[in-house]
């Protein structure tokens, strides 16, 4: 028997295998398309064939047999025809006489017993639209902005101002100005969008499927479905990847399926095939960002002026907050007294863009990290030496006036990444456009350094107050079990495993006693969406505190029931009191369940009171905590074909306390690989009639096992002490910085700076054969 003084077993910090791995490797996990839903109708969305115009009529083919078809149009929307996201402009399906704003905008939904019949019915509806000239690309919008800024239709604008840039530029010895572009990026979760809406007898609906944020539809469809939140119940099935793509979009999908479901009284399933999924779901926002920076001969930045414009597409949806996160990351990682950042969301007639891992930050960091290298080049400084000088560290003040706390491992990330990658030495080996002795390919190494704000922007968490429960209950067989009840969804990132670890530690229980059932708004309180790199930090803390609350209840019961009132402690799955023989947890739990019934620990998240944020001026503490990283990329470029290969990537990361190092490393490697695709492979646009021009996996290319570099991932831990166990955001950070690190490596290899991603062999060829002088 272990001594009373020995430390209890700890699960946080261990690489515990995933709790959901077994079913996934055996093929028994049932995703939504693996469930045989008896009696469902299959829904297909009827869409606008043009990108902009006035919807004149929907004409069903009179030669077609419509008797087995449920056809739902705007007339069948039970309430006000609006999906309430961050404004009230977007209808669920377009009204006759209203303006169509993007190609593929839904105009009706049909449902039938088979997907084939439904698809045929959808084809038999003629959608008549009086066309208007569309604005299809960000390039066109920026051309307008450059000629007459006031003529750009911005759905949301926001500035950040610190100091005075005019003073800063006056004090500068030199000024560097440049523009950077990035295109759309598709989330490309392997499991396509899919869900089922079941109408209930009491008029409510139940939706289940591949849904990242079950509470979103509960609060966004009330007006259009005329149902209060308690009459919209949503639960997740196992999610085959989401990356933001199943964040806000499934709200619309539930709305589409609900129309024929409510009209017919039958459950309706909508499951996209890949082609439809790429063509008609959200993407990462294209960006145009212009930096103008003033600096002294010694490198001190005296002014940063930045215009940051996203392509929002046809409707705002959630793009305002994507832009906010973008501008908050435009200059957060460097010291500068005078900063002005102007963010806008351009309205175009492309498909509305949406959430994708990083949420505006990768676009911002793509710009600033390319630009910092350009400044270093102008100064004749090595990029890593220059970043050593100007990078933000504890005590520094961000553009919104936030003082960085000691819980920021910025310097440690930068130094360790430089050391592990042997950056200084490799920089000297870089080709700079000419093969060195022994080189058969152009070689270059590049660096990016960046922060990612954890959790909702500003006082979002303070206002939201994430809630969660940890319950002691019984399985069907009578075995006691501890259930985690929060609305965080498992979508591959590993939350079911790490929350099991957190709860097991807080209770001092073996993880075998802990379960984390799938998120269900009917059973779990609202702990918020699974987004914004907030889950480990915020909801992890809720689970920790709620489990502690439950532990106290179990201990109090055990004290009275088993130890004659002597203080009892739950430790390593048994209850112990001084001088008494310990009692196994299962026995105490059985007694508690039998004599009192299920017990529940609860917690509601609160931010430290000193966190202050002004949403109108964008001043204050923009995030409760920051994660940090430095990425180093090494590339080789064939001088003849311009084929580019990323050979090695070093990523050093501060995400606070690492809950599960195996899962965390996997998150980083996966995020870096998405960033690799963003940087050099994934190309998709809306130039032709507003329809995405890469609609399938033959044309939209993502990295394969042959494309990935050797990864060196290392964590340094600066825990967020306010919220034990002290994790900061991890999910998005690996997506943020690799694209500019690769662009900087391409510059080191070729001597040319490429200011648009993806960087393809074609664009490298064009840069190599362009006249010199384009690089600032």
């Amino acid at each position: 028997m272990t001594k009373r003084t020995s430390k209890p077993v700890r699960w946080v910090g261990q690489g515990m295998p995933r709790v959901d791995a077994d079913g996934k490797v055996r093929g028994t996990t049932r995703y939504v398309n693996d469930v045989d839903y008896k009696g469902v109708l299959h829904g297909v969305v009827v869409r606008s064939p043009v990108a902009r115009g006035i919807l004149k009529a929907l004409v069903p083919d009179p030669a077609f047999d419509w008797s087995p078809i449920v056809l739902a149009t705007a007339k069948d929307v039970p309430g006000e025809n609006v999906v309430v996201m961050h404004d009230r402009t977007m209808p669920l399906v377009a009204e006759i006489g209203a303006e169509i704003r993007y190609r593929g905008e839904p105009v009706a939904v049909v449902a039938a017993k088979t997907p084939e019949l439904a698809a045929e019915a959808a084809r038999r509806i003629r959608v008549e639209v009086e066309e208007l000239p569309p604005l299809l690309t960000l390039q066109e919008a920026i051309a307008i902005f450059k000629s007459a800024p006031e003529k750009l239709e911005s759905m949301k604008s926001q500035d950040i101002v610190k100091g005075d840039v005019a003073t800063g530029f006056a004090a500068a010895d030199e000024i560097v100005e440049a523009e950077y572009w990035a295109g759309h990026q598709e989330q490309l979760y392997l499991e396509n969008q899919g869900l089922v809406v079941f109408p209930q007898k009491d008029g409510s609906i139940l939706a289940e499927g591949s849904i990242q944020c079950p509470y979103f539809p509960v609060h966004e469809l009330n007006d259009c479905l005329k149902l209060p939140p308690e009459k919209i119940r949503v639960r997740q099935t196992p999610i085959g990847g989401a990356f933001g793509g199943k964040e806000e979009y499934p709200t619309m999908l539930i709305g589409y399926a609900a129309l024929p479901a409510l009209k017919s009284g039958k459950p309706v399933k909508i499951a996209y095939e890949r082609n439809e999924d790429i063509l008609y779901t959200t993407k990462r926002h294209p960006v145009w960002v212009r930096y103008k920076t003033g600096f002294k001969k010694d490198g001190t930045l005296t002014a940063i002026e930045c215009d940051f414009i996203l392509d929002g597409g046809g409707y705002l949806t959630i793009s305002d907050v994507v832009m906010f996160r973008g501008i908050l990351h435009c200059a957060v990682a460097y010291r500068c007294e005078n900063v002005t950042i102007r963010g806008k969301v351009a309205r175009t007639n492309s498909f509305p863009c949406g959430a994708f891992r990083g949420f505006g930050a990768p676009q911002a960091i793509w710009g600033i990290e390319s630009h910092i290298d350009a400044i270093a080049a102008r100064l004749g400084r090595a990029p890593h030496e220059y970043r050593r000088q100007i990078h933000a560290r504890p005590g520094d003040v961000t553009p919104t006036g936030q003082v960085l706390s000691k819980e920021n491992g910025s310097t440690a990330c930068l130094e360790l990444a430089l050391k592990r990658s042997d950056f200084a030495k490799k920089l000297k080996l870089s080709s700079r456009g000419r093969l060195r002795k022994g080189q058969r390919k152009l070689y270059g190494v590049g660096l990016a350094f960046f922060a990612h704000g954890s959790a909702f922007t500003g006082d979002g968490e303070a206002k939201f107050k994430a809630k969660g429960r940890v319950e002691l209950t019984r399985l069907d067989g009578g075995k006691p079990v501890v259930d985690i009840r929060v609305s965080s969804t498992e979508m591959g990132q590993g939350v079911h495993t790490i929350f099991t670890q957190i709860a097991a530690d807080a209770l001092s229980l073996d993880p075998a006693h802990v379960r984390f059932p799938m998120a269900d708004t009917g059973l779990a309180p609202n702990s918020g969406p699974t987004v914004a790199s907030r889950t480990t930090m915020v909801v992890g803390n809720v689970v920790h505190r709620a489990a502690q609350d439950l532990k106290r209840q179990i201990e109090a019961f055990a004290s009275l029931r088993f130890f004659k009132g002597a203080p009892a402690e739950l430790r390593d799955s048994q209850l112990a009191a001084k001088g008494a023989k310990p009692v196994p947890f299962a026995k105490v739990a059985q007694a508690l369940l039998a004599e009192i019934g299920p017990a529940s620990g609860f917690f509601q998240f609160q931010l430290p009171p000193e966190i202050r944020w002004d949403q109108t001026t964008f001043k204050g503490d923009s995030y409760p905590g920051y994660s940090w990283s430095a990425n180093v990329a090494e590339v080789e470029i064939d001088p003849l074909t311009c084929e580019i290969e990323v050979k090695r990537v070093t990523a050093v990361i501060d995400v606070g306390r690492v809950i599960n190092p195996v899962l965390a490393t996997g998150q980083v490697e996966g995020g870096l690989t998405q960033a690799l695709g963003y940087a050099i492979m994934e190309k998709i646009g809306t130039g032709k009639n507003g329809l995405y021009d890469a609609a399938r996996l033959q044309t939209y290319i993502i990295p394969t096992a042959l494309d990935v570099p050797e990864y060196d991932v290392k964590f340094v831990e600066y825990p967020y002490s306010f919220a034990p166990p002290g994790g900061k955001g991890l999910g998005e950070l690996p997506m943020d910085g690799l694209a500019p690190a690769i662009a900087n490596a391409v510059e080191a290899a070729t001597g040319r700076r490429l200011r648009q991603i993806p960087i393809t062999p074609e664009s490298i060829f064009a840069a190599l054969h362009a006249p010199q002088g384009g690089t600032p």
Binding site: G15, G23, L188, R274, T665, G670, R696, L697, V708
Partner: protein, 162 residues
């Protein structure tokens, strides 16, 4: 469409097939036999989520019509793989190494990994990358998947190796 009648072995079990010649093998496995482990993602043979083994070769079942497979064809899906020693080693290694995230590509990955190791129990890293190049994963960045195949290979008893 003409209906074909065939006799196959699926996961070691004799199956009398009666299906339209053009029916996709993936649909036949998932819908007629209930073997839902094989997944559909791209539907055009690009992503490998539907990979199964047909007569010792990994194939993408989403673009393979039932009519193309003769009598006596042997098919192994992810559900049959755990009955194979190497298959179990692959599954265990994926779990231990942390090669699984969302899991949607994993059945196909397991099948392709098994197909590789059944033929080449000591593959080089390059051989593993090539064997898995037809299986897309959006979560993991492949590093842990490659590591899992290496771990499984290291555990194959020496007698099994060439």
């Amino acid at each position: 469409m003409s209906t074909v009648q065939r006799t196959w072995k699926v996961n070691g079990r004799t199956v009398r097939v009666r299906a339209p010649a053009g029916r996709r093998l993936l649909d036949y496995l998932r819908e007629d036999l209930g073997l839902i482990g094989s997944k559909e993602s791209c539907g055009e043979g690009e992503c490998g989520a539907c990979t199964v083994i047909v007569d010792d070769e990994p194939v993408v079942s989403c673009i393979l019509p039932v009519g193309q497979l003769a009598d006596g064809t042997e098919i192994l899906t992810v559900e049959g793989i755990e009955k194979k020693r190497i298959g179990r080693l692959v599954q265990q290694a994926f779990v231990e190494v942390g090669a699984v995230q969302c899991g949607f590509c994993i059945p196909g990955m397991i099948v392709s990994s098994y197909a590789l190791l059944a033929k080449n129990p000591k593959p080089s890293t390059r051989a593993i990358r090539e064997a898995l190049a037809g299986n897309l994963c959006r979560c993991t960045g492949y590093a842990k998947i490659i590591a899992a195949v290496k771990l499984a290979a290291a555990r194959i008893p020496a007698a099994k190796r060439k």
